[in-house]
Amino acid sequence: MWFAVTLFCVVTISFFMMRSVRGGPFDGERTLDPAIERNIEARYHLDWPLPKQYFQYVGPFNLDEHRAEIFGGDGSKVFGGVTMLEFGPSFKYKDFTVDQIISQSLPISALLGMVAMMWALALGVSAGIASALKRGSRLDLAMRLAATGGIALPNFVIAGFLIIFFVFMIPLLPVAGWGSVKYMLLPGFALGAPYAAYIARLTRTGMLEVLSQDHIRTAHAKGLAPKTVIMRHALKGGLLPVVSYLGPAIAGVLTGSLVIEKIFKIPGLGTHFINSALNRDYTLAMGVTILFTVLIYSMNTIVDLAYTMLDPRIDLEEM
């Protein structure tokens, strides 16, 4: 329910905000012939009054009385609007619909985000557990310092250092582009680094708290191996804060990829968003915004569900 409300708000607000800004998608260096301009506007329905444009965009009814196709083709397919999961034609990339652009770039961004999250989880959790077990040691201190440093540095600076070290000084990896696994390592690392740091901190504190609890003492007392105690008993409770952080982390990885995609020249979603906002590519910008909203919202929901599964004391209805 709230999902629908949120989505409605996003669509409406961003639609009207975007249209209210001066300057259209077809403003160029040279001024167009008025007739041509009219034709272009008619093609994209920009000559309609705003509410009509809005309803056409949302759908699912086609308000175009000529039943005209607005993105080419043989007329067999009619624009259905956002409710039919059609985001319309891109204003800038003339031969593409927004759906096509998203379906091309979303897998790339998703893959990158997954690499980053996996790496952040693996490193963060193991570092957190290690420093919680060796509390107060040098290892703990070093890890805490590294974690705070990782939080303190912006990821594009980390990316800069990575490029200098692993591309130019020790030529191991390609500097930019997208393709095989080789291309994913540096961007994934740079994107995941701040989250790895944060997860390490969360794991450490979570583990410390759990380790001092009675049931762990009991487990130790009944003679379980330390490894079993940690893996079976402590980890489940200790990772709760991490799980609740995953929602914001995934949102952060998604938006953070704007920068990383720019540095490493990855043809993902982030690039499209920035360009579309600057180019006034209304439909593309709307499409990407809606997509991100859906992603973030569903991630938050999944995280909430996972939370209740891990900790039965929490009731979702109460949240």
Binding site: W2, V5, T6, V10, S14, M17, M18, V21, R22, G23, L133, R135, G136, T148, G149, I151, A152, L153, P154, F156, V157, A159, G160, F161, I163, I164, F168, M169, V175, R201, L202, T205, L208, E209, L211, S212, I216, R217, H220, A221, P241, A251, L254, T255, L258, V259, K262, I263, F273, I274, A277, L278, A285, V288, T289, F292, T293, I296, Y297, N300
Partner: protein, 665 residues
């Protein structure tokens, strides 16, 4: 604290005694005293606090520090590669880097330290209009002008820009005898290029103050074109100091111009100009003062500037010699006295533009810009331009060497710097960037921006977050539910997009915002702050929820206090400790966000500098040919250490203010 080995979580009797004695010693302390004691005991947090205070002080007194200018002071023909001063191969001193004293450019008659006056003009002969207007401006302000640009686009009226120095002191001194050869030489050249070399005796102070010096050893001073347009390149440099010896000679396009009292055989196109001022030998009579021109073939006493006929290929050169109260500036027999200014003026762009010797320097008094605009307006009203041309005064705006707001205390600090350090400044200790700017000074000046971001954005988030959270928590029930639902919705918005959108919006409406007196940067800060209030609101709400049924609130309510009063007098002070903790954690987040936006090209605009733009410059300079590591390393270190300190301090504060939360995230 307990360790996880069995037996370690029990307190020994010794521990208990220690705790009890501490309790006795600090009984009756207020929350803040207690927190301060705890914070001081936490070494890392305490040192972080000291570091941050030092950082704030440094960035505040940045104008006072003798560091190089963070701006590019000269626009060079070719950008220089970034340089690193410690690798032995010292680059030849280049304009705009080591040789540039930012102070010299700011305080002295620096060309950047000026105001720009803009006119809209219509008329056939714009050059004539320009001359007339410049005469008028000089009349009003008592300063010499330089025409920067004549631009006309489409059917819009042409715009004329005039530059005048800001400081009354910048106008040439009138007491010629006292100051020696002080003056200003402006050189209008053509696009033919070439160096204008003045052979001058080497004088350290002069050298350092010269914004255009290249080669120290030979004592040659290369003039670098500071801006070029269709009319040709304009060469300009200042003689801010009295110097001994005088000008020895001028070379142009590699040719030595005679130094035997004739400064230059720059032929002013004989065929040029309907004003029919032909070849114009200029003699520059210096006063009856014996200057020690040891090796100089020419003592400054003699005429040192003259224009004789010469077979220059592109003979459109112009010299503007602006002196103190020289009595005699001779130009082809013209005897210029007093306030005679314009001598000749050609009508064609690639021919002679101006030839001018300014001989008066009126002291200008009054609050500068408003006053000036008014005076100029009234002068313009009484001025009738030739050929029925019209001119409208558009604006008078200031510009200085830092391109920075230099009012009030900063300006005072700049002046103090001049008194204390003179023209001395630090070297490029952290190297220079690809425009020859000093990294060290850019980091320090950038910290001012970062500090501003931190301050404004945090303040905004504080105001919105605390008010919203406190109100929601206090009201409770349906109101609370609705308000928190709203926050939830906002949480799931992709906020970065909203911000990007808002920023493109402010860019679009920049001029309108200016009319309301809203600075784009302030809006930028506020926008950042406006999205960081969500967490604050949640935290405050939680605290208020737990407090609102406390007895003292009940008491206040029973006594009939209004909601507003209960909120801000009773509740907010009690959530202050947790608010402070979140504040110290918001600041690094906000600074990171600024860097993030700068990276996307939506942050601070050049020539201003922030740590975000520095980091971006560094990352952009990464290339496979040569690693300019200092461009990445130092800004990253500055940013990293500050944010690290802020994080540590935030953790320390949380431990100190709220011991229950110790060690939690």
């Amino acid at each position: 604290m307990a360790k996880n080995e069995p037996g370690h979580w029990q307190l020994g009797s010794g521990n208990m005694e220690k705790i009890l004695s501490e309790v006795a010693a600090h009984k009756g302390e207020s929350l803040w005293q207690d927190a301060w004691r705890r914070l001081r005991r936490n070494k890392a947090a305490f040192y972080s606090l000291i570091f941050l205070i030092l950082f704030a002080v440094t960035s505040f007194i940045a104008p006072l520090l003798p560091i190089a200018s963070p701006m590019a002071l000269t626009l060079q023909e070719e950008p220089q590669p970034p340089s690193w001063p410690w690798d032995g191969t010292q680059l030849e001193t280049q304009p705009g880097s080591q040789a540039t004293s930012s102070l010299g450019a700011v305080l002295n008659n620096g060309w950047r330290h000026r105001s720009t006056i803009t006119f809209n003009t219509e008329g056939d002969n714009l050059d004539t209009v320009a001359t007339e207007l410049s005469d008028m401006i000089e009349e009003v302000t008592g300063r010499t002008t330089a025409i920067n640009r004549v631009a006309s686009k489409g059917d819009k009226p042409a715009q004329l820009f005039f530059g005048i120095p800001n400081e009354a002191d910048d106008t040439p001194r009138t007491d010629w005898e006292k100051t020696g050869n002080e003056g200003k030489v402006t050189f209008f050249g053509t696009s033919a290029g070439g160096w204008l070399v003045l052979d001058l005796p080497v004088d350290e102070a002069l050298f350092n103050s010269w914004s255009t010096v290249v080669d120290k050893r030979k004592g040659n001073f290369y003039l670098v074109p500071i801006e070029g347009n269709q009319a040709g390149l304009r060469y300009e440099f200042d003689l801010p100091h009295p110097f001994e010896g005088g000008v020895k000679g001028i070379t142009f396009n590699g040719r030595n111009l005679p130094a035997d009292g004739k400064l230059a055989d720059l032929s002013v196109a004989a065929e040029a100009s309907d004003d029919a001022v032909d070849v114009a030998p200029l003699t520059w009579d210096s006063p009856e003062e014996d200057a020690a021109g040891e090796a100089a073939p020419v003592a400054p006493k003699g005429p040192i500037a003259s224009l004789a006929e010469a077979p220059l290929e592109s003979p459109t050169i112009h010299l503007l010699v602006q002196l103190g109260e020289t009595k005699n500036v001779l130009l082809d027999g013209f005897d210029l006295r007093d306030d005679t200014t314009v001598i000749s003026q050609g009508d064609s762009r690639d021919k002679v533009l101006f030839f001018r010797a300014n001989t008066t320097a009126k002291e200008f008094q009054g609050t500068f810009h408003q006053d000036l605009k008014r005076q100029l307006d009234s002068a313009l009203a009484s001025l009738s331009l030739a050929d029925g041309a019209t001119a409208t005064l558009i604006e008078v705006e200031s510009e200085n060497g830092y391109d920075w707001d230099m009012n009030g205390i900063s300006h005072l600090m700049i002046n103090v710097r001049g008194k204390v350090f003179g023209l001395w400044q630090t070297g490029n200790w952290m190297g220079t960037d690809s425009k020859g700017r000093d990294i060290f000074s850019r980091i320090i000046w950038g910290s001012r921006t970062s500090l501003m971001v931190a301050f404004w954005a945090t303040l905004t988030s504080l105001l919105i977050g605390v008010t919203y959270g406190a109100f929601s928590g206090y009201k409770g029930g349906k109101v609370d539910n609705a308000m928190m639902r709203f926050v939830d919705i906002l949480y799931s918005l992709p906020f970065i997009f909203v911000v990007i959108f808002l920023i493109t919006l402010t860019n679009e409406y920049k001029t309108e915002l200016d009319e309301f007196g809203l600075d784009r940067e302030v809006i930028f800060y506020l926008v950042i702050g406006a999205i960081y209030w969500l967490t604050m609101a949640r935290v405050v709400r939680g605290q208020v929820l737990s407090l609102k049924n406390a007895e003292f609130i009940e008491a206040a309510r029973v006594l009939g206090a209004s909601t507003k009063r209960i909120l801000f007098v009773h509740l907010v002070p009690n959530v202050l400790s947790i608010v402070i903790v979140y504040l110290t954690l918001t600041i690094p987040a906000v600074m990171l966000f600024e860097a993030f936006l700068s990276f996307l090209g939506m942050g601070i605009e050049p020539p201003k500098v922030s740590w975000g733009t520095l980091a971006v410059d560094g990352t952009e300079a990464i290339n496979p040919l040569k690693i300019f590591w200092w461009l990445v390393f130092f800004p990253a270190m500055a940013m990293g250490s500050t944010l690290l300190a802020l994080n540590i301090l935030g953790d320390g504060l949380r431990d100190a203010l709220d011991p229950k939360l110790r060690g939690k995230d």
